[in-house]
């Protein structure tokens, strides 16, 4: 009898929403990972020092370890973290297999600020590689830790890291669509727009202050631009028919968009001040997914004017159009690396959709992923990492892959993740 009483209650508890935690797992790593020891930072105990500070070493080790390029040594047995270079003994770390060692300290500075220093050493040659100091508030400590990871990555690999950026994506859960902005390590996710109808195609303005996206709340696709600072937004393309695929010009004043108001889906350039849309593509084929090249010369886009969806580029100066992709009969969703040299896109092969990269000089193409339902590739600001969306066990997850295809991560959360865009 009591069973009957409890059973409905049990079912009620089962449908409580799961706690939303994003997890990141490494799926593939570089062949030779550099062994690094990140020692816990020494946090000063002094009057005026804020309590409960996170140790930046955890964030730095997390970033570098997940990147797939480094192997983190265990540093949990360090009893007293060295606060200064003089307190650091390198030879024991060299014998433990470290190629590089990081130490750091945090001291109070003024009323509510802290100073964070770190030193990076080559453990083999026993030389100092980098040392930097940052000033911040306790709330900014995590951002500083990401900067330190960037600096260590740069010093050891010769190219910038991508740990300090932000990502935007759509999370579908409980029947709602949420546009979220999070740190590149998926922490501090904030929902900036929530809607009962679909949201797609978020696009960061070049200054990182605005997001354009497509919303279906008006019963059809409409392009909105939203200010991240205060959440205010307006519909910038709500013409007759469908409005979608926003892409920012480099000066942030125009959006290239796909509009169907005149003649099926064509690309227009929309002036954000005047609201005027100037038609850019002609011919009445299906044209969509425009993206400006970083040097501002070209507009890359998807078109089926040749009979199958392929990627083309048009000169913004002359309007001349050239085809860019030739392999296979389905190549869509162009993304250009910040140095303008690599095109990433979605390539269909044997009915499966993979992320591929094309070197725009040599025209060599490489399929980067072995996941099967890939969408929406987006370059990190360092041009070395691609963020994209895929399906794993029928659930939408985000994933990253290095441009050489070797290093892979997967980001998942309860709910469906899709449409990621890496911020500037």
């Amino acid at each position: 009898m009591l069973f009957r009483l409890f059973l409905p209650l049990l079912f009620c508890l089962l449908i409580l929403p799961a706690k939303a935690v994003m997890t990141i797992e490494i799926v593939g790593g570089a062949a030779n990972r550099i062994p690094v020891a990140i020692l816990p930072f020494s946090i000063a105990v002094a009057p005026g020092m804020p309590g409960g500070l996170l140790n930046p070493a955890e964030v730095v080790a997390g970033d570098l370890g997940r990147s797939g390029y480094f192997r983190m040594l265990d540093t949990t047995d360090v009893a007293v973290p060295p606060a200064e270079p003089q307190a650091l003994q390198l030879p024991p770390w060299k014998s433990r297999g470290a190629d590089a060692v990081v130490i750091g300290q945090i001291r109070p500075q003024g009323a509510d600020r802290i100073e964070v220093r770190f030193w990076l050493y080559d453990a083999v040659r026993q030389t100092q590689l980098t040392a930097l100091v940052y000033t911040t508030t306790p709330e900014g400590l995590r951002t500083v830790a990401h900067r330190i990871a960037d600096a260590v990555h740069q010093a050891l690999l010769g190219e910038p890291g991508a740990y300090g950026g932000r990502i935007a994506y759509i999370l579908k859960r409980n029947g709602r669509y949420e546009l979220q902005v999070a740190d590149a390590d998926s922490q501090n996710a904030v929902t900036v727009t929530a809607s009962p109808e679909p949201l797609i195609s978020p696009a960061w303005s070049p200054d990182g202050r605005r997001l354009a996206y497509v919303s279906f709340e008006d019963k059809k696709p409409v392009v909105y631009v939203q200010n991240l600072a205060d959440g205010s937004r307006r519909a910038v393309a709500k013409f007759r028919g469908s409005n979608s695929a926003p892409a920012w010009s480099r000066d942030g004043r125009r959006l290239a968009v796909a509009l169907s108001k005149d003649e099926t889906s064509q690309i227009y350039l929309l002036d954000l001040l005047t609201g005027e849309a100037t038609r850019f593509t002609r011919g009445g084929a299906l044209d969509t997914e425009p993206v400006f090249s970083p040097d501002g010369q070209w507009l890359y886009f998807t078109s089926d004017r040749g009979g199958s969806p392929q990627i083309y580029r048009a000169s913004l100066a002359t309007g001349t159009v050239n085809r860019v992709t030739f392999e296979g009969n389905y190549n869509v969703t162009p993304a250009i690396s910040p140095d303008g040299r690599t095109l990433a896109f979605v390539h269909r092969r044997d009915g499966r959709f993979h992320i591929a990269a094309l070197d725009l000089n040599s025209h060599q193409m490489q399929v980067l992923t072995d996941t099967l339902h890939d969408e929406s590739p987006s370059f990190a600001a360092n041009g070395r990492l691609l963020l994209y969306a895929t399906l794993v066990n029928d659930r939408g997850v985000l994933a990253t892959v290095s441009v050489d295809g070797k290093v892979k991560q997967r980001l998942s959360q309860s709910g469906d993740l899709r449409e990621p865009a890496w911020g500037p």
């Binding site: 040392a131 930097l132 940052y134 709330e139 900014g140 500083v144 929902t191 099926t264 969509t288 339902h373």
Partner: protein, 270 residues
């Protein structure tokens, strides 16, 4: 004994569900669901929707200096005031009075429409068959020459209740089997000048969302052009796309995909 087992289970569930609230949990329950009206075919028409937006701080600026000391730029945490904006969409309503048209068979077998309905140049009646004799009682079968009315939109016997046209893979070509459906809708719109149709194109889930949006648009435009050819003016229709975002079948196989490659005909005010 059973009682003990269930209390333990209950306690375990309660413990598992006790969580520190996350930032996202605070937002989760706000906002109202869209009220949805169902048309006869299951296609959804969206009423006022409530969309919420929220502020987020821009990237935190941090200063860097060489190991000699330097003074820093101030960083700030992410103070986030909540701003919510509401977007409402007013849907035009339309009276749904449905005058029944009376039909009398004439000597030569053709049917004639009752006097109070508008004559909008209807097409020639289909060949009369034995069924027209039954027209004298209040049957729901629409008569070939009857001027279509708003009531017919919901009449399951009328071709007007057919709202969904399916398409082949990668195609926007209208299959022959839909010709009578198109003709019925064209006839309706010509007879009811204030009727406004939304042609909603869809695509199956495979491939890029934006490309599928454009594919769906093509399918909606295909129906738009077919209706144009049947005499419906541009102003009475709008072709839009929902891409792959609103599937009616949720499987990941051809059986589901073929259901999702479609155009829906919706009328404002239904």
């Amino acid at each position: 004994m059973k009682f003990l087992a269930f209390s333990v289970l209950l306690a375990a569930l309660l413990a598992g569900c006790a969580d520190t609230p996350s930032k996202e949990a605070a937002i989760e329950d706000r906002g109202s669901k869209a009220a949805e009206a169902q048309s006869t075919d299951g296609a959804k028409i969206f009423e006022a929707t409530r969309v919420e937006t929220k502020a987020v701080a821009s990237a935190v600026p941090v200063s860097e200096a060489a190991s000699k000391s330097g003074d820093g730029v101030k960083t700030s945490g992410a103070a986030i005031p909540l701003v919510s904006t509401k977007t409402t969409d007013s849907v035009q309503t339309h009276g749904v009075a449905a005058p029944r048209s009376e039909v009398k068979p004439l000597a030569d077998g053709k049917a004639q429409v009752a006097a109070d309905t508008k004559n909008a140049g209807t097409t020639a009646p289909d060949a009369a068959d034995g069924k027209t004799a039954a027209a004298q009682d209040n049957s729901t079968l629409p008569k070939p020459d009857a001027v279509p009315s708003w009531g017919d939109l919901k009449n399951p016997e009328s071709p007007l209740s057919k709202r969904r046209l399916l398409f082949d893979y990668d195609s926007a070509a209208i299959r022959d089997e839909y010709r009578p459906v198109l003709e019925a809708h064209a006839k309706f719109m010509k007879a009811n000048k204030d009727a406004r149709a939304i042609l909603q194109g869809h695509a199956d889930e495979r491939g890029s969302r934006e490309y599928n949006l454009a594919l769906g648009q093509r399918r909606a435009e295909s129906v738009f052009k077919a209706m144009n050819l049947l005499g419906v003016p541009d102003a009475q229709m709008e072709a839009v796309s929902l891409g792959e975002e609103k599937p009616i079948a949720t499987g990941h196989d051809e059986a589901a995909w073929q259901q999702n490659r479609r155009t829906e005909v919706l009328y404002q005010g239904e």
